[in-house]
């Protein structure tokens, strides 16, 4: 395992955990969404690291090139996952706009208080 791989392996776990912590600990819905984005970015880094080989070059066939190529497949896969992550983010932000319109706040704890008050009023 090269230095690059070791560093990346540690880095992607750290990034993921930072994202997960933000997701759990923050009350602001936009910050929660950013945490989710950070969490997914960590996974992108993992996939990108998977494809790398020591001394590998871009997998383009050319004369006199070295025989070691990086594996393009994980990169292609993660391109799809990036698009998915982007769409998730867009849907989340659209929902947060709706929440702001209906509740007038984007703090999760305040929304919970409003919902509880609604439930008691209805009962």
């Amino acid at each position: 395992m090269s230095l690059f791989e070791t560093f990346n392996s540690i880095a992607f776990v750290v990034i993921m955990m930072l994202g997960l912590y933000t997701l759990i600990a923050r009350q602001n819905l936009v910050k929660k969404t950013l945490g989710l984005g950070l969490f997914q970015t960590g996974i992108f880094l993992m996939y990108i690291t998977l494809g790398v080989r020591d001394g590998g070059v871009a997998p383009i066939l050319q004369e006199g090139a070295p025989l070691t190529y990086t594996n393009p497949l994980p990169h292609v896969l993660i391109l799809t996952a990036i698009v998915v992550s982007l769409s998730t983010m867009a849907v989340a932000l659209a929902l947060i706009i709706g929440v702001r319109e209906e509740y007038g706040t984007i703090e999760a704890d305040e929304i919970a208080t409003i919902d509880r008050a609604d439930a008691e009023e209805g009962a």
Binding site: L23, F39, L77, T80, A92, V99, E102
Partner: protein
């Protein structure tokens, strides 16, 4: 496979996909509903044909599965659609439930979704069904992730469309989005680790390569991530927190579709990965520690879900918490890896989809006519809406598992399998769960039949097209309870294929 049926596998996803793309363009007014009805009906026909074909072939030459190379690129390098008996059975179930709920929901959607949003509703609706069907028939691990996200993203949007009736739909959808994305990301990590280990994404190929390599930390980590992600998606206790709010605030059609299909597809993913990808040669797919952990989760799901269901203020929430318990039954059956328990698990998936789908449709009728499903507003429902409350009681009996209903057959197989495989404690939990189901069903009976009629005004008549799907679904559950031969046959063969280890 002859030339007439050779295109069928890809049509299962292609038909609803095309419908979903067309819906925003031509889906104005009633055309959106008609389009959804035609596409889900066609998908049901195709998957039903495949189910019959595969079942017939499997009886002749077991194990039989259809493999379809997308774009003509053969597996393992190309993406392969692989349909075995379990895939075909669940694809028929998902598209059939999609058809039934679509049939149900013309007026409901008119009632609950603003006019300018309806064509987008139908688009999301069909794309969600596309994603769910795709997961069932693909043989490629990364494809599972992409299709999972297609179905999840559209379902978040569908749940949020309940904001007209209840603004909590937005927070419920957002909650589900955050938890669902974390779950899907876990599955993505697991697929990445499997790729790192085996260098392939085709499920059968991964399985073949895992059999040759020693089990090491990479495989175990992948399995742990996968189980956690799938448990989130199928709402297995204690990862069910997104589900009750989402089911009770979503538009009634969406709640019925989700309850009947989305969690079932999550369970299918679990079954497929555990038994067709991770299964070790000759041994059980899960270690004793795994079975212990999942068994505890299932037991807690059954007890906690049933007890919570008995304390809920509204019928929608009661049904949602009862789903938490029912998922416990299904998962406990697949965990022990015994043929009878697996048969029971597959049967329970089908029956629970029929019963719970029918019950959520009843809740939809209540919302359509009363505007609420709060239990205190349902007082005296037995006199005011005799047909609907009768249907709810029939569904409730099916959930308890009274002999003569479908629920009895599946629980019988579950119990038999759990006892034969040496897990009497889990079998005991299944029995206790049935008693608890009787308690929460009784709560509805008590409110509907033993209390004086309430004064909540009734709107609209009982539309026949709304009650027809309820009759068909609950009627099917009774029919299958009395004549279970054929479906047991299919479920048993599907369980056999699954436990045989090859996808």
């Amino acid at each position: 496979m002859n030339s007439e049926t050779s295109m069928l596998p890809v049509l299962i996803v292609l038909i609803p996909l095309v419908g979903g793309v067309l819906a925003p363009i031509i889906g104005r007014g009633i055309f959106g509903w008609l389009l959804a009805l035609v596409t889900t009906g066609a998908a049901t026909f195709v998957s039903g044909t495949l189910l019959l074909y595969i079942h017939a072939q499997n009886t002749l030459t077991p194990p039989f599965a259809i493999s379809y190379p997308l774009g003509g690129w053969p597996a393992p390098h190309g993406i392969e659609l692989k349909i075995d008996l379990l895939s075909a059975l669940l694809a028929t179930l998902v598209s059939g439930m999609g058809f039934m709920v679509t049939l149900f929901s013309r007026q409901g959607v008119d009632d609950e979704i603003p006019a300018d949003r309806r064509r987008f509703f139908w688009s999301l609706w069909l794309l969600a069904i596309t994603g769910l069907l795709g997961i069932l028939i693909t043989g490629d691990a990364f494809n599972v992730y992409v299709l999972l996200e297609i179905s999840s993203l559209t379902i978040y949007g569908l749940i949020a469309m309940g904001r007209q009736r209840n603004r909590q739909a937005l927070t419920a959808a957002l909650n589900y989005l955050v938890l669902g994305s974390v779950g899907a990301s876990f599955i993505l990590i697991a697929i990445g680790l499997l790729y790192a280990k085996t260098g392939t994404l085709n499920m059968a190929d991964i399985h073949a390569k895992l059999l040759l390599a020693p089990v090491d930390a990479t495989v175990l980590t992948a399995r742990a991530f996968l189980l956690a992600g799938v448990a989130l998606k199928m709402a297995l206790f204690p990862l069910h927190l997104w589900m009750p709010a989402a089911y009770s605030t979503a538009p009634s059609a969406v709640a019925a579709l989700l309850a009947a299909t989305a969690t079932k597809v999550g369970i299918y993913m679990g079954m497929r990965f555990i038994f067709s990808v991770f299964a070790m040669s000759g041994g059980a797919a899960l270690s004793d520690a795994n079975i212990l952990i999942i068994g505890i989760c299932c037991g807690a799901a059954i007890i906690f879900g049933s007890l919570s269901a008995a304390r809920q203020p509204s019928l929608s929430l009661l049904l949602a918490y009862s789903s938490v318990a029912q998922i416990g039954y299904i998962v406990v059956g697949m965990t022990v890896g015994h043929i009878d328990a697996m048969t029971g698990s597959i049967l329970h998936m089908v029956f629970h989809a029929l019963i719970k789908g029918g019950l959520f449709l009843c809740a939809g009728i209540l919302i359509y006519r009363l505007g609420t499903t709060r239990l205190e507003d349902l007082a005296g429902l037995g006199q005011r809406m005799p047909w609907v409350s009768g249907a709810i009681v029939v569904g409730g009996l099916g959930m308890i598992g009274i002999p003569g209903t479908a629920g009895f057959i599946s629980k019988f197989y579950l119990l038999k399998g759990l006892i034969l495989s040496g897990h009497p404690v889990l079998a005991g939990l299944v029995l206790i769960g049935s008693v608890l189901a009787a308690i929460y069903t009784w709560r509805f009976v008590e409110v509907a039949y033993l209390r004086p009629a309430g004064d909540t005004p009734l709107r609209n008549g009982l539309p026949f097209e709304k009650f027809l799907p309820v009759l068909l679904l609950l009627g099917a559950s009774i029919y299958l309870g009395l004549q279970p031969g054929a479906i047991i046959d299919v479920a048993h063969d599907a369980a056999q294929q699954l436990l045989g280890g090859s996808p």
